[in-house]
């Protein structure tokens, strides 16, 4: 399946958001996720099925003013 992860094209065999995060090495990192511009809550990542062409955003706390 072809996805976009944080703006970069990737190919994955995973089928849920939780599996994708695991595959991509996020582990227990404090991150928030969005699929196609909408929040995908942490508690639903296991149930969030990915579809070919989805755009995934994974964000974390960062310096800000």
């Amino acid at each position: 399946m072809n996805l976009t992860l944080n703006g970069e094209a990737i190919i994955t065999k995973t089928s849920t958001l939780a599996e994708l995060l695991d595959e991509q090495g996020y582990g227990d990192a404090k991150v928030a996720t969005a699929v196609n511009g909408t929040l995908a809550p942490a508690s639903f990542r296991g149930a969030t099925e990915l579809t070919d062409g989805d755009a995934i955003e994974v964000v974390a706390p960062m310096q800000g003013g």
């Binding site: 703006g7 990192a29 511009g37 706390p61 960062m62 800000g64």
Partner: protein, 262 residues
């Protein structure tokens, strides 16, 4: 004298940003020197390999400061709203510093998008701190959208120009005497921050002026003193300006006084 934002009381009137410091340890020392109870943070794309955000977060949570997440850099209502959703989940706070940027050179707010995003977010239970201009009509609409705090700019973000429109900021203060008002952005010097507080603003939010100073820790302290000083001055009710001199030393009993003095 504590200040209240939504239902939270804080004692410091200085809100400080966490970006652009020379190192994490200088950032932490500057936050400490500022005495701030509230720090602004952001969200950025995290790489599974580098996980830079995890390090940053471990520093910030140790400060014990209240977190005000921003939507910096968002240019559309949808981006800002989704970023706010992600911030609420990650920082576990209903607070959001709402930025919808309308123009790249000035980074000035897209006030139309700002009002629309504020309405969506307040209906969802967010406590919105909108980064806005000093425009009275926009302010009215933000309050009608459910905002209980307003954050007009002093000058464009990072410009260090101080208060570009003192008249406008004074009008905003006079128009909304009870609404907590925070000057956010454009401050360069402690005297700018003191001037904002002397206008009766409730607090000042700044980042670059401290983080990019030669000695950020010393500058954080300088700003803390200026903000406190400006606030005390406002409360103390300063004298009016006058055109001509008025002697401060009593004239009565002046030695050598004669009719020529009259």
């Amino acid at each position: 004298m504590p200040i209240q934002f939504y239902d939270q009381q804080v004692s410091s009137r200085f809100l400080i940003g966490t970006a652009l410091y020379p190192s994490p340890s200088i950032m932490l020392d500057a936050i400490k020197a500022s005495g701030s109870d509230i720090v602004t943070v952001s969200l950025r794309r995290e790489s599974g390999k580098e996980q830079a955000g995890q390090n940053f977060w471990s520093y910030i949570k140790d400060t014990g400061a209240r977190i005000l997440p921003n939507t910096a850099g968002c240019k559309t209502v949808k981006e800002a709203v989704t970023t706010a959703h992600m911030a609420r989940e990650i920082f576990e706070t209903p607070w959001v510093k709402l930025e919808v940027i309308g123009e790249d050179d000035s980074l000035q707010p897209d006030v139309f998008g700002l009002i629309e995003a504020a309405k969506i977010l307040t209906e969802e239970g967010f406590e919105v701190f909108p980064y806005t201009t000093e425009d009275l009509v926009v302010a009215e609409k933000l309050l009608a959208a459910g905002c209980e705090v307003l954050m007009p700019w002093g000058a464009p973000i990072g410009s260090g120009r101080g208060l570009n429109n003192v008249y406008g900021l004074r009008s905003l203060r006079a128009h909304f005497p009870k609404v907590p008002l925070i000057v956010d952005a454009g401050i360069g010097l402690p005297s700018h921050a003191a001037a904002a507080m002397e206008l009766g603003y409730d607090a000042v939010l700044l980042n670059t002026a401290v983080a990019k100073a030669g000695d950020p820790v010393l500058m954080a302290k300088a700003f803390a003193m200026a903000i406190e000083s400006g606030h005390l001055s406002y409360v103390a009710d300063p004298i009016e300006k006058r055109d001509m001199a008025a002697p401060s030393t009593p004239v009565a009993g002046l030695p050598f006084w004669n009719q020529e003095h009259a």
